[in-house]
């Protein structure tokens, strides 16, 4: 049975990112079809039928998000979220480096569906090659009348501006991205109003992840129903999963949703380094609850399956942890990250993330106390659900899940003043 691929359909070498190469593999045919024979609503309808969900981590149905936009409001903005920053995630950068035109075509189709005259790509400030490739691709696209006024000679016009971030994980949150695009600190906004109602400069705005938008050309070319038939029913499609950590072959692997977790770790990624036993897996980027080796036995890379297991599909960044890794020191890496990235706007996240990190810092220095463990259990509860944005939850969930599943390691560290695993992170 042939497996439908949306991304890994070509050999990413040489100039496979160029306009010619993209056209050579069928690129911009979907756009041509849409602009010449479909109405904007038809494009939106295909996306709805496809069941496509956001690939940035929130997994929200894209067709629904688009449907909240009132085109009659006049100005509508489309923002591509290329601020890939979730630890364990490195798929958007692949798309930008190797198939930037796929993103551009997806953005144009989305802009057409939404009535957006202007679109932005908000890209990681740190990105080097992805930025250069994207800029080059946009140059090619503009020169070929694919971006700008009267695209392909039709009445549809759309300009795409590349806007660099400047080092803030929280700017991957859509309302934070919008505030950052307006020239401010990336403080997230309280919702309601949602960006589709009042977003960039108070205009209706849709923020979609790179991978999300890069799916749209395929959906328009093959139809939404064909996309819905790929992978799991409730969250269909073919996704780029990143496997990293203690595996023999870390990297990106494209599979339909519902692909077994064990297969991606032990087949695609060649199993755990040195043939060691598996200890834990963080399934969807660092913000998703950790699963034990036992818990991943029968889990699949599907939203429902992971939710049932007590975690989330998230951004599809599978982080593999081998036996012998110190979970206390590993959690400290994460608490340090969230404390550094907390924007500082709201009380629970601002104070809670640095508090949790201070506690972990003291524990790994051998100065942990009994009440630290109680605090590590209760602080996340004071944060979860109480913050302006999901970064609070993202900071809380690793602490909660590590304590629940590997609590004995934390108790050992506090009691003995040292790691039970020699503080090992590398194996």
């Amino acid at each position: 049975m042939s497996v439908e691929r949306v991304f890994f359909r070509f050999d990413p070498t040489g100039d496979s990112h160029s306009l010619d190469a993209y056209r050579g593999r069928g690129g911009y045919q979907a756009l041509t079809k849409a602009l010449t024979s479909m109405q904007p609503n038809d494009v939106a309808q295909e996306v709805t039928v496809s069941g496509l969900r956001g690939r940035g981590g929130a997994n929200f149905p894209v067709g629904s998000k688009w449907s909240f936009v009132d085109r009659k409001r006049g100005v509508v903005y489309l923002c591509c979220n290329a601020d890939e920053g979730e630890p364990g995630t490195f798929k958007d950068r692949w798309i930008l480096e190797h198939s930037p035109h796929q993103l551009i075509e997806g953005m144009l189709l989305a802009a057409y569906a939404l009535g957006a005259r202007h679109a932005f790509v908000y890209i990681r400030g740190e990105f080097d090659l992805p930025l250069r490739r994207l800029r080059a691709a946009l140059g090619e696209a503009r020169a070929s009348g694919l971006v700008g006024e009267r695209i392909l000679g039709t009445p549809f016009s759309c300009d795409i501006v590349v806007h660099r971030g400047a080092g803030a994980y929280v700017c991957g949150e859509e309302s934070s991205l919008i505030n950052s695009l307006e020239g401010r600190k990336g403080y997230p906004r309280n919702k309601p109003p949602f960006p589709a109602i009042k977003g960039l400069y108070q205009a209706p705005t849709v923020v979609n992840n790179v991978e999300t938008l890069a799916n749209v050309p395929w959906i328009v070319a093959h139809g939404g129903a064909a996309y819905a038939a790929i992978g799991s029913k409730s969250n269909p499609g073919s996704r780029l999963f990143g496997v990293s950590g203690h595996v023999a072959r870390p990297g990106l692997y494209e599979h339909p949703t519902g692909y077994p977790m064990k297969a991606i770790i032990f087949d695609d990624a060649g199993g755990v380094l040195g043939g060691r036993p598996l200890k834990a897996v963080i399934p969807g980027g660092s913000s998703t609850p950790v699963l034990t080796a036992v818990e991943v036995e029968n889990v699949t890379l599907d939203a429902g399956s992971l939710q049932q297991a007590g975690s989330m599909l998230g951004s599809g960044g599978v982080i593999v942890i081998a036996e012998g890794t110190c979970m206390v020191r590993l959690l400290h890496v994460l608490t340090r990250f969230y404390a550094h990235e907390s924007c500082g706007q709201c009380t629970p996240c601002r104070e809670g993330t640095s508090w949790m990190n201070d506690i972990l810092t003291r524990i790994v220095a051998g100065k942990g106390r009994r009440e630290d463990l109680d605090n590590l259990r209760s602080i996340p509860q004071g944060i979860m659900g109480n913050t302006v944005c999901a970064l609070g939850d993202a900071a809380a969930m690793p602490v909660m899940s590590f304590m629940r599943k590997f609590g004995d390691e934390f108790e050992y560290f506090v009691e003995h003043g040292r790691s039970r695993c020699d503080g090992r992170l590398e194996v």
Binding site: H340, S342, G344, R350, E351, R369, V388
Partner: protein, 471 residues
Amino acid sequence: MEVRIDGTTIEARAGETVLQAALRNGIDIPYFCYHRSLSISGNCRMCLVKVEGVSKMMPSCNVSVAANMKVDTASPEVQRARRDVMQFLMLNHPVDCGICDKAGECRLQDLQYAYGTPRSRSSDPKHHKRKLYDLTPRIQLDNERCILCSRCVRFTKEISKTNLLGIVDRGGHAYVERNQDAALADAYSDNVIGICPTGALLSRDFLYKSRVWYLEPVRSVCNGCSRGCSVNLWRRKKEWWLRGELGEAANRAIYRVTASDNPDINGPWICNKGFDLHKTAARERALTPMIAGAAATLDDALDAARRLLVQSQRPAALVSSQASSEELGAFETALGRRVKVYTRQDCAPAPGEVTEDGFLIKADKNPNSYDVHARFGSVPLPAADTLAHDLFIVWGEWERYALLGRARVIHLTAYPPPRTPHPDVHIPLSTWVERNGTFVNFEGKRNRFERVFDKPPLVAHAVHVFERLAS
């Protein structure tokens, strides 16, 4: 529309938030960052409530009321959230209460007592930030006490529009900072002191002068310009009066000025000149009546003045726009037909003082020009060589008697008159804080002020002076 909060049905207005509807109906939802005259921030998270049908708790300051909405503000979940938010706020708060001016009127203190726990769950050292920093010559900023509610930032952005303040740095390192241009002035800056829910922003002028529970506010009106904002002048409570020498100054002092909310005139704000009213009221005073430059009793001085008036053929009076409506009325009744009345705006803007600014400050620096104009019209004083009066009653401050032509002068003023030449009679007057009265502002709105303390013994109320002069 109807909304249910904790099982009680209340009347809510379209466009309101749950917090606004609750507060209007006497339901106490705690909050820090919300302020009815500032944009919604929704970042303190103290006002979280449970709305039926929504899985997460929502900040009630940012939830619009909807018909038949059911809100829970008292469940264990909500109580727990308040406890958690207080714990987070108090985590690094320095608890300076023992040395902090805000104690006794501090929202953080109040809500900690109401919703917090007595002990911190942390035994780690608190994070330190910049303390006791001179933000401006008028305002002290303590970044450790600050809970980053952003009220002050929103004030200088949305109300005074100077963008003086912002919050810099990220996460737990964030702190309130000012625009670095030292020349940037904000004529309304001191309002941030009142809206700050902690002792982070304090008046440098008032610093360490008194505990607030020894003081009480008296409702008054600012006489700094023709807007006549409502203010509170704070004096020592009678039961806390000091004895002996200490008391002489302390019991008759205005310790500080705060804004008094008046929706009709100034809303919750006043300008810095208003905040400095206690300095105006503490100006050096004229305390002794004088006849021909020599000290006299009040009775003798009033008699001398009356005799001058009786003997005069062509008396005139220069009326004060600092006078209350009651005083103007007494003058009008007693002398309005007997003397030629000239009007003026006593107080001119000082060099560099803000004049008309499109917000509160008016160019006319007198509180009652409106009533003067209503009673007497506008009758400016002509050139001295055209004046032919033999007696001038000068009411209010005046520097050069020569400008009044060759007339005898009765100078009625609260402040020391010129010495050379001296007026024929000088009667020291009370200031507006020493009596009740009314000013009428530039829009014709009346605003009442109340007596803060008694006038000095040898000083006269203007209404009595006019009664005596006319008798």
